[in-house]
């Protein structure tokens, strides 16, 4: 089960290294989103501002959705999905592998985007980076999980590309709420200490459990 999931994730990484389809697009997208939000808020995103914190989370979530659009694309185009479904592995391994890959893509994008965000908006007086990193990592797990789940549900839908954002975004609203709160905390605001981070961990656990329980019905027959 775990080896199978890891193998699937590895395949996705190798494919991405060769084709460079997803990560590069995500990077450009997150940059454009940050610029757009910055100007949409009339540039009111100076150092230490809450808007700058919120902008990061909005950009991360939308970028994640962009990446998710390609989650099962390769498998579907080449017909590998049927083979995977026939393979003597647990169905859960397929979405765990896909979620792992998605998590990895998000981390790669954030490794580039977060330092840039930081330099652009907080030359001085930025939030404590440790909290932001932990919050992002926990959020990435949640986003990758529910995103992959939704992508699996939308497989075979006629309007898949339009459908996926509509399915994923309401599910990740709690992540954004907690992530933004955690980031305010990182600015030194009194926002209940570790509670937002604890919530993100809880969110991950709940959806791991729910996805696990329903994974058998996820990918079709």
């Amino acid at each position: 089960m775990i080896p199978a999931a890891l193998a699937i994730a590895r395949v996705k990484f190798v494919l991405e290294l060769r084709r460079r389809e997803v990560i590069f697009a995500m990077l450009l997208f997150i940059a454009a989103t940050i610029v757009i939000v910055h100007f949409a808020l009339s540039g009111d995103t100076g150092a230490g501002s809450r808007a700058a914190a919120g902008m990061l989370w909005a950009a991360v979530v939308f970028t994640a959705v962009l990446g998710l659009l390609r989650t099962f694309a390769a498998e579907q185009e080449e017909g590998a999905l049927d083979a995977l479904l026939l393979a003597p592995i647990d169905r859960a391994a397929i979405w765990i592998g896909a979620a792992l890959a998605q998590f990895g893509f998000l981390v790669v994008v954030e490794v580039v985007a977060v330092p840039v965000w930081w330099v652009l908006f907080f030359q001085a007086g930025g939030p404590s980076i440790g909290t932001v990193v932990v919050a992002l990592l926990l959020a990435n797990i949640g986003i990758a999980l529910v995103g992959t789940l939704a992508a699996a549900l939308a497989l075979g839908a006629r309007t898949r590309d339009v459908l996926l954002p509509v399915l994923v975004l309401p599910l990740v609203i709690p992540i954004v709420l907690a992530g933004v709160t955690a980031t305010y905390g990182a600015f030194g605001e009194e926002v209940g200490g570790l509670r937002p981070l604890g919530f993100l961990a809880l969110y991950d656990l709940v959806f791991v459990a729910l996805a696990w329980g329903t994974s058998e019905h996820l990918l079709g027959d």
Binding site: L153, L167, I173, F207, H217, D221
Partner: protein, 232 residues
Amino acid sequence: MRSLGRLSTTIPLVLSTILIPLTVALAFWWTPEDFDQGLSQKIFYFHVPIALTSYVAFAFGAFSAAMYLWKRTEVWDLRSYVGVHSGTIWGTLVLLTGPIWAKASWGVWWNWGDRQINVFLILFLYYCAYFMLRFSLDEGERRRSASAVFALLGIGLIPLSFLAVRIAQTLIHPVVFSTGGAAMPNSFLLTFLVGFAGMLSLMVLLISTEMRGKRTAARVLQLQRVARGEDA
């Protein structure tokens, strides 16, 4: 079986025709006017029961989804769909009556500081997406399971949204309007309960009527196939 099906619409029909007008009567002629909010508080007897009814309908949809995944019979899929459908209809009413009350008592159409309405908005957005998912999949086993899984995930989303809104809110915006305070007088509580029972029976009526419609449609389709000489 047929008489049972008829009862499942007749009883809620009778109950809702009695209880909903009764709520109006009790709310306007029996309960005293609220000391703080005056006449506008009367919408409480409709808005809150509608909101609770909507949650009950969504819960029924999710429960039926779980039953579908377990039993794999089409009727549970239909029940799940009808439950979510009904929940969305009641949800629309919640989102219409909520702002009216908010405007009357707080002076704003929408209050981002109010916990319930924000959670409800997330849930409403989520279950609206259910219809997009369902109707962009071709009819069949795949659509039934995908819809069921999606309907079921909402059960995880409700408590998580409550928690998230709470974490973000008590800390970011102070809760201005506390829901606590003095206990409700008995006449308020009774009118509210009558209202809730009325809305619930109307929901049951809508659900069982829609179920009957769906079943009849399926039966007609089947008969048409037989008439054309295809396999029933």
